[in-house]
Symmetry: C2
Subunit: 340 residues, 2 copies
């Protein structure tokens, strides 16, 4: 084995409020030689996602937090350098979950082989990966959209939100998305959103929502939370479904964000708010991926990637998710992509 | 027609904050003679219910508000004095919705005949009326309880909450209820709640919930809202269902009550919060009434009534709902009950 070291980002301390680069440490670690059923991989793309903010907090969540000193978790696309598993060959392109490091020795059964003729390999952590499946199951299984519904998506220019809006249109719905800034709004229009709301340009979210969603809101796919959700809940239609996918507005809050207690609206509208986590739908991943791949081939789903180069820039790319730096899927390119 | 006058409570002004007696005016009005298809009725029992607070506010709700000067709405049990409808006879005991007045001329098809051999006629606005059906459909159709679940009910000593807890037990669940004060807690124990929480006696709602619901909460049937709901949402189990039936803690708030924005918990627990309104289940009223009547006969559902005498005391009885004056169903006895 020629590669005996890996550079890896470890969690240095739990962030207080907004995550900072100093919350992470770049370190070098020795690699063990792959044992039976393991493979040495090099990282090509590292995915950074808003959910990771929850994984570095102490608080109760759906998974135990990354320990202090632990390697940061994350979806990864890479290439096999040395395999000791019969199903994985040297040179194979794979998607896995080995985190913020440039090399790793991993269990081969945690890897899924990728065919670059199928789709660009980076999409395995984007529109054909966790974010795409989140959009697919969150909208279709939890949001239960009906043709003619108005589907309002917050964080619509992100990897999940952009896909939600396009699936909503495929379902026969009117898709309205919110995002911050002219470039993102232009992107939403480019990928076919029927309406948009630039929350950074609006002083009055309520009035802006009324203009953007003149027929009210039947499905609210929420990646953001906070004041926008307060305003949406006053504009939902009878029987509306609110999908809580993310609450990025609050992820870097120090205490508990305060807002109006507005559950009365759910009685008025006999509506529901439901939280979703994509891993609950892992047993149906093939269904989502097959359809998403077809919709991409047909040009009905478009996607965009924002790529930052260099493992050293992973914390910066991660923090940028919370300041709105990315359009579409945020990736860190850690090593050369042999297919491009 | 011997009776030509009615005394009626009219809405004098929209309450600001806590409703007051001065928000209502007692007035006398002339009765018209019943026309074809109408009947003159005298009121025996008037139901006062928390939902009426929403009906006298300006804000958007599920029904248009009582106009200033209009007769206060409400469920009523009474006796027919003069009928001009073939299906309704003089002397019949009926339940209807003619509001806060001692006599009324009403459409006969808005009346349902009561058989006092079946159940005390007052139950037609209580456990066999709107509150009973709210408990039945809210718990079973929206809360979806499974045997073994912990069902936590707020406002558990009220007409709805007490019935919810007992249906939860019939369903094989553990029923835990919250109420304020020793008399109500004793009542909850008497009717079979497995656990109780006296919110007036507890300084730390979170610790009290942990003690009362050691296995967490699978179904939260919420009549109250506010700080108790904030605490419950941190204690729900995976896949929990929260039924928003009422939010009495906030009904007399002047502005919008503030609280933590805690929808993140719904992702962590893949839980849902759903609002319910009993009128959506009106087409299945017979189903609920048949089963509730049977459970009462079998002694599996008990109920209690708090009765105030005299139409003149209707505002006081109504306001008492918000200060916790009632155990079980709050009624105003407006005229003699010939069956007791």
């Amino acid at each position: 084995m020629t590669q005996t070291k890996t550079r890896q980002w470890r969690l240095a301390r739990r962030p207080v409020g907004m995550a900072q680069e100093a919350d992470f440490t770049l370190a070098e670690a020795d690699l063990t030689a792959p044992r039976e059923g393991e493979a040495l991989v090099r990282t090509i793309y590292l995915s950074v996602d808003p959910y990771m903010r929850g994984r570095i907090s102490e608080g109760p969540s759906y998974a135990s937090p990354v320990p202090i000193g632990g390697v940061m978790v994350g979806g990864t696309v890479g290439q096999v350098l040395a395999s000791r598993d019969p199903d994985i060959k040297d040179g194979d392109l794979v998607v896995g979950y080995w985190g913020w490091q440039d090399h790793a020795v991993v269990k081969a059964r945690g890897l899924t082989k990728l065919d670059p003729k199928d789709a660009p390999i980076s999409t395995a952590v984007g529109v054909l990966g966790m974010p795409g499946r989140t959009a697919y199951f969150g909208l279709l299984d939890v949001g239960l959209p009906r043709p003619g519904d108005t589907v309002f998506v917050s964080g619509a220019a992100g990897a999940v939100g952009a896909t939600v809006g396009q699936i909503a249109r495929i379902t026969g719905c009117t898709a309205v998305g919110s995002a911050g800034g002219g470039a993102k709004i232009a992107y939403l229009k480019e990928i076919g959103f029927d309406g948009t709301l630039d929350y950074k340009a609006e002083n009055d979210l309520r009035a802006a929502l009324d203009r953007a969603c003149p027929k009210g809101i039947d499905v609210y796919f929420d990646n953001v939370g906070g004041a926008l959700t307060d305003a949406v809940l006053e504009r939902i239609n009878l029987g509306a479904r609110v999908v809580i996918c993310g609450q990025i507005a609050g992820y870097n809050e120090r205490g508990k964000e305060q807002g109006p207690r507005n559950l009365w609206q759910l009685i008025v509208k006999r509506a529901r708010i439901q939280g979703m986590l994509v891993s609950d739908f892992d047993h149906r991943a093939d269904e989502a991926n097959t359809r998403l791949r077809q919709w991409i081939r047909e040009g009905r789903i478009k996607y965009r990637e924002t790529v930052v180069d260099g493992l050293e820039n992973a914390p910066k790319a991660f923090i940028g998710l919370f300041t709105g730096a990315n359009i579409g899927k945020q990736l860190v390119r850690v090593g050369p992509d042999p297919t491009r």
